[in-house]
């Protein structure tokens, strides 16, 4: 075990998997010589050469389509899309290509690619560089979507994603890259996709979150503890497919739930969480599920405005108190 930053954990996963499997290659804007604007691919071009680590033109639409077809023909591409805000440019390749061919040509091809991107607000990057568009991705059949929060999961899940036979969207967060944690050094420690994690265990209310919102949920749990409320924080880790049994187990215990996502509320990822709980845990619920999400408006730039919209610990704690009231 070693203490690593989240970005370093990702870097280690990339290095190990590229060393292990010559079919793995990586491409994206400014990921090569510069090492990526968040420095996740630092040093990889020197180690693996310009053939396997490629700086690309600004062409998200074709890059994503090329990742799909390259994956169908023998390689395991990793594509970095610099900001999740640019995911709308990648949608055709995901919705009409990646999603479709795994089923139509089942048995003939696999589509093992990883699309890494990062989203989220909090540092004044404005309405076009701070969004969380998780739900657009999680809606697409045939694709997995993961959003780990700890450096250990970042490494273990990225490795699992690279080895997965299906397309995996790997969602990072700009405010997580510098967070630190214990990370396995061993090359063969994978964290399975599709499994949630109990981040804090509690019996009064369940808070379901992913990515940086887990940090906020944990802080909310501390606030709630002061009021004598024992919140259970479930780090979903994977957004598609959902770990249903973890959700059911937690609600069977707490009978109350708050669902959190940094994306917009209406038709958001929180809507699916609420609906899933409706489907599977209705009889266990003592109160309606509360959603905590981005209000349905563009993310403003100015600090007081941005601070007012991004979901945080105090909004989560407040929602929990309301739910329990």
């Amino acid at each position: 075990m070693a203490i690593m930053r989240y970005a370093e954990a990702l870097n280690a996963a990339l290095r190990e998997e590229m060393g292990r499997d010559p079919r793995v290659f990586m491409f994206g804007e400014d990921i090569g010589r510069y090492g990526g604007v968040f420095k996740v691919s630092r040093g990889l071009m020197d180690e693996f050469g310009e053939g396997r680590i490629r700086d690309t033109p600004i062409s998200e639409q074709a890059l994503t389509a090329m990742a799909v077809s390259a994956a169908m023909t023998g390689t395991r591409p990793i594509l970095e899309i610099m900001y999740a805000d640019f995911v709308p440019l990648c949608m055709d390749a995901l919705v009409n290509q990646a999603s479709v061919f795994g089923y139509l040509w089942e048995g003939q091809i696999e589509i093992p690619f990883v699309l890494r991107t990062q989203g989220g607000g909090g540092v004044g990057t404005g309405a076009q560089h701070a969004k969380s568009l998780d739900v657009f991705l999680a809606h697409i059949p045939g694709i997995k979507v993961v959003a780990p929060v700890t450096p250990a999961d970042a490494k273990g899940m990225l490795k699992a994603a690279i080895r997965d036979p299906q397309p995996v969207i790997f969602l990072e967060h700009k405010l997580l890259y510098n967070t630190r944690g214990e990370v396995a050094n061993e090359e063969d420690v994978l964290v399975p996709l599709g499994k949630a994690r109990v981040a804090i265990s509690g019996t009064d209310i369940s808070i379901f979150a992913s990515s940086k919102m887990v940090v906020e949920a944990e802080a909310a749990a501390k606030l709630l503890a002061k009021d004598g409320i024992g919140a259970e924080v479930i780090d979903l880790r994977t957004l598609r497919p959902l770990d249903l049994s973890a959700i059911k187990a937690s609600i069977a215990k707490t009978h109350h739930a708050v669902v959190v996502n940094e994306g917009w509320n209406f038709c958001g990822y929180v809507s699916e969480l609420s609906a899933t709980i409706m489907d599977h845990c209705f009889d266990d619920l003592d109160a309606p599920v509360s959603r905590v999400a981005m209000p349905d408006m563009p993310i403003p730039y100015s600090e007081p405005l941005e601070a007012a919209v991004i979901p945080n610990a105090s909004r989560i704690a407040e929602a929990a108190r309301r739910t329990l009231a």
Binding site: A70, T73, Q97
Partner: protein, 322 residues
């Protein structure tokens, strides 16, 4: 002639063009009788592009095509019976009835695959070429696409990267003069689209898309270039769409005056004339007869094949309900 097809290859091209034409015609008849589903896009008159283009490649080279891909399917060596079965929604089809006529895929012949999103095949081929380049394989990838597709943004992005990285890819632009119902001049201010190749640092050329030898030569030369690591080529094959856009086209915009000269330049007729000079008209007729037997058998078998049964869960769990 450099890179020209051999007589045997010309015979095979001829045979596959006839298979394609008859496939289209019989399907057209079934469509009229209400026995097909969804729109069917025939490539009558354009057979030379897909068939000769694919025949100039090797078996393990990759190709991808559009909604109008019957000539590519047959050209790349796919089995007509399984093509028909797919189009007729049968379990024995290439995609077990899941794809339909616009979305066939066959990894065994490198046909990866049809695509009904206009333009999508262009980056698809570039991505396959990227895979080839990363793995240092001796293969090429080819996209067959239309004049309409050339106006999509994704064409620009893919061609720029192909030129930049010298990807082993061939862009075979099948200019049949129409998008859906509008002529090419309503879609683009320039008549010759191959000139755009200059902006991507790659050679561009035009060929007579109704002349199998010309198409074959151009593709063979581009493939050789790609194999030499000299990068991509844009080939514009000028041809004409003799049927409507699809079986749901209400027509009324292609005039007889416009079509007549192209009818005279039917690629199958031209190929028969050329071939006759070397193998005699009887041998040419024999090819047609054998093709007819084969296509009739393909339809007979495919139409007797069973429909698939719905099952929700894929073995791999890719699409399992959550």
């Amino acid at each position: 002639m450099q890179n020209a097809p051999s007589i045997e290859e010309q015979m095979e091209i001829h045979r596959r063009m006839i298979l394609t034409r008859r496939l289209e015609e019989i399907l057209g008849g079934l469509a009229k009788d209400g026995k097909t589903r969804g729109p069917l896009h025939r490539c009558d008159g354009q057979e030379a592009v897909g068939v000769a283009g694919c025949m100039a490649l090797r078996a393990n080279d990759y190709v991808c095509t559009t909604h109008r891909g019957h000539h590519v399917y047959v050209g790349k060596g796919m089995d007509p019976r399984r093509i028909v079965a797919e189009i007729m929604g049968r379990e024995t089809g290439y995609c077990r009835g899941r794809g339909g006529h616009m979305l066939l895929g066959d990894a065994s012949t490198g046909m990866i695959g049809g695509n009904a999103i206009v333009g999508a095949g262009i980056p698809a081929a570039a991505g396959m070429a990227l895979s080839i380049q990363v793995m240092k394989e001796d293969r090429v990838a080819m996209a067959v696409f239309g004049d309409g597709a050339a106006q999509t943004g994704i064409a620009h992005e893919a061609m720029n990267m192909a030129g930049l990285w010298k990807l082993p890819v061939i862009f075979l632009l099948e200019n049949n003069q129409y998008g859906l119902t509008v002529r090419q001049e309503v879609q683009s201010p320039v008549e010759d689209l191959f000139i755009r190749a200059a902006g991507y640092g790659m050679p561009g050329l035009k060929v007579d898309g109704n002349d199998v030898v010309a198409v074959y030569q151009a593709v063979a030369e581009a493939a050789a270039r790609a194999r030499r690591n000299d990068g991509p080529t844009l080939i514009e094959a000028k041809t004409y769409r003799m049927q409507g856009f699809s079986t749901s086209d209400m027509g009324g915009y292609q005039s007889e005056a416009e079509m007549a000269p192209w009818r005279d330049r039917d690629p199958i007729r031209l190929s028969a004339e050329t071939l006759s000079k070397s193998i005699g008209s009887e041998a040419v007729a024999e090819i047609a007869e054998a093709a007819e037997v084969e296509i009739q058998a393909a339809f007979a078998l495919a139409l007797a094949d069973p429909f698939p049964v719905f099952e929700f869960h894929r073995p791999s769990g890719a699409y399992t309900e959550v």
